[in-house]
């Protein structure tokens, strides 16, 4: 069991894990004078669910972006499953088994839902320009991937939307499509950036179960999430960031009791709770009661800044078409 895999690991910043799949050292990303990410040492245990929490602007998404090479860290070394990633290109990272989703969902709007998933299957011979001229070659490849497509569509309840253009999906459905698509790449680990944001409460519950399932299938899951109920319920390990650095890590219970986390992120309400797990579970059953814990300090927000910049980029191009 994953819980026991981390048994005996001390809840302190930078602690070594018995079977670390991601190891990061000295990762530093600054925007001008603002230090967005400055992580000394962080290990992510294989095959468990690790949550990354922290106030807006803590550098969680920027850390994701750096690790997956969507952003350039100024310094640092990190590896995934023994492969050094800091010199890889963004498209090479998923080929090593580390796939990520985006906070603001990115959808291939003019492709159908099914095409979105088929696109994600790796090694399609028809994606090479010469292979494209040999339909029998890639048709048989794609037929063989149909079972996987069906399974993902069913898992995320998108089967009825299969032949719709992805542009017709709602915000929550796009989020699900993003996850389904990432899973189609056959990853060893998946980085989920706020998978619950914009998803309705009933679906959150299902999504939580799916994430647990992924772990039980042997996947390493790292998620950024503001919904503390979800975090406390499904995480095996929690890492809390503030102002670019990791300020605490530990099992969910350890984190709730950590003074630095309470000060920087949670506020007094969660800190007072004596039995966090029971309380969290009760709240999930209640549904959409207390959800997001908003940040006390959000004057500067490199997370959403970098993402919204990306969005305006392609958006502006589209306007020209």
């Amino acid at each position: 069991m994953p819980e026991s895999a981390l048994a005996g690991v001390v809840a302190e910043v930078g602690v070594a894990k018995p079977d670390a799949v991601i190891v990061a050292d000295g990762v530093r990303r600054t925007f001008g004078g603002l230090v967005a990410v400055d992580v000394d040492h962080l290990e992510i245990q294989r095959g468990v669910i690790t949550s990354l929490i922290g106030p807006n602007g803590a550098g969680k998404t920027t850390l994701f972006n750096c690790l997956t090479r969507f952003d350039r860290a100024q310094a640092g070394k990190w590896s995934f499953d023994g492969v050094a990633l800091e010199r890889k290109l963004a498209y090479q990272v998923p080929r090593h088994g580390l796939v990520r989703t985006f906070q603001l969902t990115r959808t291939m709007e003019r492709l159908t839902v099914e095409e979105n998933l088929l696109l994600a299957a790796p090694g399609n011979p028809g994606e090479r320009i010469l292979g494209a001229f040999l339909p029998p070659l890639w048709r048989s490849f794609e037929r063989a991937r149909m079972d996987a497509v069906d399974a993902q569509l069913e898992r995320f309840r998108l089967d009825h939307m299969r032949n719709e253009r992805a542009g017709a999906l709602s915000g929550g459905q796009r989020k699900l499509l993003g996850m389904a698509r990432a899973l189609m790449t056959g990853p060893k680990a998946i980085l989920l950036d706020e998978p619950m944001a914009g998803v309705n409460p009933a679906l959150r519950q299902t999504l939580s179960e799916h994430i647990l399932e992924l772990r039980d299938d042997g996947l390493t899951v790292v998620l950024i999430e503001h919904d503390m109920d979800v975090v406390m319920n499904i995480s095996d390990w929690v890492v809390c960031m503030a102002q670019g650095s990791v300020i605490a890590e530990g099992r969910p219970g350890d984190i709730l009791a950590d003074e630095a986390v309470v000060d920087a992120y949670l506020g007094a309400r969660h800190g007072e709770s004596a039995t966090p797990d029971a309380e969290a579970e009760a709240r999930v059953v209640e549904g959409p009661g207390v959800t997001d814990v908003s940040a006390p300090t959000s004057a500067q927000d490199p997370d959403s800044d970098s993402d919204s910049d990306r969005r305006t980029g392609p958006g502006a191009e589209d306007g020209d078409e």
Binding site: Y91, L119, G131, D320
Partner: protein, 331 residues
């Protein structure tokens, strides 16, 4: 002159070599811009490379025209790499700026003094360009001398051969694009137009894909440039002004971008309109309804064509054969 002959002239123009050249260049541009979202404003540079490949091979080096064709294709591949390697990692608008500038630089380069020389008392290169290099093409004309067609709608054997080869190539290259677009490669390309970071996050080499698209579309445009050069048996640097690029854009958007038939329909309709407004204005001047000098006619004609295009984009932004969703999703 009467309305019937104006219509016949316009129909002839709509299948003319001009329509062939703009349709073929449009097929290339449609791959880059329509399907791939690459804002290539230097399309004419690819046409220049194709034409000059043929011209240089025959006139400068004295080679066969049939060697000039692969040389032109090679040159256009070079232009594609020149455009793409430094800019494709950047956002699309950088590609637009670099291509429009590089296209002009190429034209100014080939018309510059050092490119000019005197061979056997004849000036070639530079502003003089090249002449008479396509005899090998007309030597294999399968059409016997004579007129083909009916009444006013007829072509001589030379035009028939150029048009047959031209439209044949347009069909062939459209087929190539059609096969590519409905393949997984094409799906990846359409995905990149929507969100290239998402495609990258799935492990696809987006840079490679965009470079392939730029080069392949460019080679198609280069063939269009060759076709024009062969028909005229002449190359002048000033054939390859930026306005050519934008006229090809007009044809593609008019017909419907990101459709197989769009560039062809667009070019045919565009050249029909250009000829028809010209004929109509001259007719109206002849019968005394309009009072325009001949130089005013050509100006007025392009103003009217422009107005027609504006109306089309307002009322049918997806183009003549385009799909509405393509445009709506951009909003």
């Amino acid at each position: 002159m009467n309305l019937g002959s104006i219509l016949l002239d316009s129909l002839r123009a709509s299948v003319s070599i001009n329509a062939v050249v703009y349709a073929m260049a449009g097929v290339g541009l449609n791959l880059q811009f329509g399907y791939g979202g690459l804002l290539n404003f230097g399309l004419v540079a690819f046409m220049l490379a194709g034409a000059y490949g043929v011209g240089i091979a025959v006139v400068e080096f004295g080679w066969s025209m049939w060697i000039g064709i692969p040389l032109g294709i090679l040159l256009s591949v070079g232009v594609g790499l020149l455009f793409g390697l430094p800019t494709l990692r950047l956002r699309a608008d950088y590609l637009a700026i670099v291509t429009i500038a590089t296209g002009e630089i190429l034209r100014l380069f080939v018309r510059s003094g050092p490119m000019q020389e005197e061979v056997n008392g004849v000036q070639i290169g530079g502003v003089f360009g090249y002449d008479g290099f396509a005899n090998a093409f007309f030597a294999v004309n399968p059409y016997p001398a004579g007129n083909y067609g009916f009444g006013g709608f007829s072509f001589n054997e030379r035009a028939m051969w150029v048009l047959t080869a031209g439209w044949g190539l347009v069909a062939l290259l459209s087929l190539v694009v059609w096969i590519l677009i409905r393949s997984p490669w094409g799906r990846m390309l359409r995905a990149v137009r929507d969100d290239e970071d998402a495609v990258r996050s799935l492990g696809k080499n987006v840079f490679n894909l965009k470079l392939q698209t730029l080069v392949l579309g460019g080679v198609i445009a280069a063939v269009a440039g060759m076709m024009q050069a062969v028909d005229q048996q002449a190359i002048r640097p000033d054939f390859f002004r930026t306005v050519v690029t934008f006229t090809v854009y007009t044809a593609v958007i008019l017909g419907g971008k990101a459709t197989i038939l769009g560039p062809i329909v667009g070019s045919v309709v565009l050249w029909f309109l250009i000829q028809f407004t010209d004929g109509l204005l001259k007719y109206l001047v002849d019968i005394g309804w309009l009072n325009l000098a001949s130089d005013q006619i050509s100006g007025t004609r392009f103003a009217l064509v422009g107005l027609a295009l504006v109306l089309l984009v307002v009322f049918r932004p997806q183009g003549i054969v385009g799909r509405k969703e393509e445009v709506l999703l951009d909003a």
